[in-house]
Symmetry: C2
Subunit: 233 residues, 2 copies
DNA sequence: ACCTGAACACCGTTCAAGT
DNA sequence: ACCTGAACACCGTTCAAGT
């Protein structure tokens, strides 16, 4: 009964042989479905129909697996266009990174935790950063200003500077829900802002705040600020 | 033997009675020393000389404990000055938040993970955000622009927009160290930048990149950009 | 009524015993 | 030589048994 899957072929190999790539993409799929907390060596192995120890032939340990997953994500970011100005190229690429991130909401947390620990980013990430720097340089930025620019862009380079709070659906149940009138009394400014935003978009069904255009607003404010400094620093 | 610590006093109570505050500050101290991964209910209990289950009288579960720890950190941010303009007030407060964060390097990861999950931020965080919004409003910002501003500031409000990579000391050992000449060949732009930064600060002993001034550069670029829009939006 | 030890259902990773 | 089951040292949390 247990042997059913392997006894058919002459070579007696599992249907699709395990590979680093297959381990990584399975892990990404698992995280997409269940979040970062659903990622365990044991569960990945189970999803692949394999004993947990089999994974250790393809990744040294869990941290290396997480690094590999980040590489998979960076690979999903569109390559730079080479037929337009620096600003458009950077803008498109960052927005592509953001789209990637929306497909993998667990990524910021994992990237955050891994960037704290690693000695050097993986070659894939280095290549990506190098390419970004190259775009600024080709656009006429001094190396000093490029350095500032990379810091200013910060995590936006990888598609996020985290929204302080995710949208309201899909949350843990809230223990201490507060009455709206008490909310308004205690946090008057927050309430004013929430009402203004809601009123602004009364036609839209959603959360009352368009994260995408807010992201673009921040991105453009930053890019415009950098452009103003180009040549001056 | 086991009874030694409790049999002395008449009331037979542990030396310092457990309290939510003591649980939280102990957890913060533990994380400061060992990072986010060192934070376990069992270890916190051990540090308090208590059985793990005793913690559950003061926090509902680990997530609520993490939220409580974030509240402790927000409490460390200096209150706003009220004798100066909006820009100085925001700037000082954000820099105070950043100093808090430098004392607690595990915080961004924890904040990131908790903000993904919670329904509503804790009252302490809400109060902090409300106060920030109030400063912008008092500075003559329209509610629409304040909304944009809060998004633009993003995680910088809590003292971080994460440095993509931490400084080089205190890292995991690096498996695949690369030869400098191969580094230069593969990542020319990255190398140019690294060299320029190193040369820039040859007098300084440290990592060759002043994170503090880079943070301030990004902060000021953002604040200046917002000021330019004040009144226009 | 209160407290808590043991237990449950998990982890990542090691390692020796099996083929 | 290769593979892997069992084991180790952990988790967060439940719950019944003890006082």
């Amino acid at each position: 009964m247990v042997e059913i899957t392997t006894q058919v072929g002459a070579a007696a190999q599992p249907r699709a042989p395990l590979s680093r790539q297959r381990v990584l993409t399975t892990a990404v799929t698992l995280a997409d479905a269940g979040g970062a907390e659903a990622l365990s060596m044991r569960r990945i192995a189970q999803a692949l129909g394999v004993v947990p120890m089999a994974l250790y032939k393809h990744v040294a340990n869990k941290n290396e697996l997480l690094d590999g997953m980040i590489d998979v994500l960076v690979g999903e970011i569109d390559p730079p266009a080479d037929d337009t100005d620096w600003k458009t190229t950077i803008r498109r690429r960052v927005l592509s990174a953001r789209r990637m991130l929306l497909r993998h909401p667990w990524a910021p947390e994992v990237i955050e935790s891994r960037m704290k620990a690693r000695t050097t980013p993986t070659p894939v990430v280095l290549e990506y950063l190098d390419s970004m720097i190259g775009i600024f340089r080709a656009g006429g930025f001094s190396i000093e200003l490029v350095h500032h620019a990379m810091h200013v862009m910060g995590s936006r380079l990888l598609g996020f500077s985290q929204e302080l709070f995710e949208d309201s659906s899909d949350r843990e149940p809230d223990a201490d829900t507060i009455a709206p009138e008490e909310m308004a009394a205690r946090y008057p400014h927050l309430t004013e802002l929430a009402m203004a935003v809601a009123h602004d978009q009364e036609s839209v069904v959603g959360s009352g705040c368009d994260d995408q255009s807010e992201f673009e607003f921040a991105l453009d404010l930053t890019l415009d600020g950098l452009e103003r400094l180009r040549g001056a620093i």
